[in-house]
Symmetry: C2
Subunit: 235 residues, 2 copies
């Protein structure tokens, strides 16, 4: 056996993972207590704790006080999506980033915005529509609503060169956000802006954010044809 280093928490995690994968510890089984594993590996309990906690966060283990640690029955997959600035996303793909402000006005919030922001009222909000381009071609249509009660500066901010996406990230903190991913058919306006046929399947991201319980902004990102959201998990 080349047991390598079970004195580091990564080493302990690797060994435990190996035992789970090899079915030495089967799904649903209880595994030894931290103290016992610490003795077996010849390391401190804190080191074992760190390793097991990491595996529990990854969904491979389920831990409960008093009753101990068990191998998860259904290793609930978790994917971590990075939500970068649209500009950075385009530049990271090696493409030329372009930005164009299409409209800015004070409009009444439509139902899907009211619902997304968990509002009871349909107030007038700052409404910004902007197009992000990658290599000259339409990439993402940003349809954003900002609550001027939470972000007074939004009414006077100039979104002609810097996108609200970027401006908000740099200037407005938030404490909670919700994300919803949908597939929607392109309506006539969207189809025109993104240069696709009406009814084309559009990958849509709705994101709402709050600061201390007060709604800040709601944005619908409508992605151009063939857009893919990717994520990789190394268990």
């Amino acid at each position: 056996m080349s047991k390598l280093e079970t004195k580091t928490w990564q080493g302990v995690r690797a060994e435990v993972q190996r035992r789970i994968r090899s079915r030495a510890w089967k799904p649903g089984d209880a595994i030894p207590f931290e103290a016992d594993l610490a003795r077996e590996f010849g390391c401190a309990r804190a080191t074992v704790n760190r390793a097991l906690r990491d595996l529990a966060e990854a969904g491979l283990l389920e831990r409960k006080r008093r009753s101990g640690t068990r191998v998860a029955l259904h290793p609930t997959g978790r994917a971590v999506l990075d939500i970068p600035l649209i500009r950075k996303e385009v530049e990271a793909a090696g493409q030329a980033y372009g930005y164009e402000l299409l409209s800015k006005a004070l409009d009444a919030a439509p139902p899907h915005v009211v619902a997304g922001m968990e509002r009871s009222d349909a107030a007038h909000l700052v409404h910004v529509v902007a197009l992000h381009r990658a290599d000259e071609r339409p990439h993402v249509l940003e349809d954003r609503w900002i609550d001027p009660a939470s972000v007074p500066d939004a009414a006077t901010a100039d979104f002609s060169t810097k996108s609200p996406n970027e401006w908000l990230l740099e200037n407005v903190p938030f404490t909670r956000s919700e994300l919803a991913i949908r597939a929607l058919p392109a309506d006539p306006d969207t189809a025109g802006s993104l240069d696709v046929a009406e009814g084309t399947a559009i990958l849509t991201l709705d994101r709402a954010t709050w600061l201390e319980g007060r709604p800040v902004t709601f944005v619908r990102l409508l992605h151009g044809a063939d857009h893919v959201i990717r994520s990789s998990v190394t268990a």
Copy 2:
């Protein structure tokens, strides 16, 4: 000041978060060293380390040896998607789960499967198509390909009552997985199975998994109308 408990790592994290949100520590700024914060808060350095590590994982801080810890310039949003068993997902929504095996055969892998599994060859794979229902209505069409070289049991497994989704999770471990989310128009077969009009925008999840570098399975999950993937982040 009600400084509550800065002797717990959650307390330290909350206080640091507050200073970032209040712009006391601005994006790009270096924050005090762990040792100094530990002295200020009157706790051990390990406690501060735990808190800062957590914030760094959340993307709010950037840490480097020797140069110290800085507030991230663009709090890169991260959304964590839970990928549960389809059955559990349906049951969690309070709906009745139904399952039906549509076909099982040994077929030649089409191009999108070959690419998704990062294969060089277009071998014959076990091909299973199954429909998951929620309250009698079509919910997800599971179009799965399994490499019999990696999973010999797949050829003889009975998928008529238990879905490959569930069978694989319980029986086959993996070390890496890739996820891709797309919006695709429903082709005639898909439209028929999901009971939607042809060309309807379908939210599609492609998931490929490997075990020690060897391809295990590729699945395309085609979701019924109006399906939404949700995720919430409490920063």
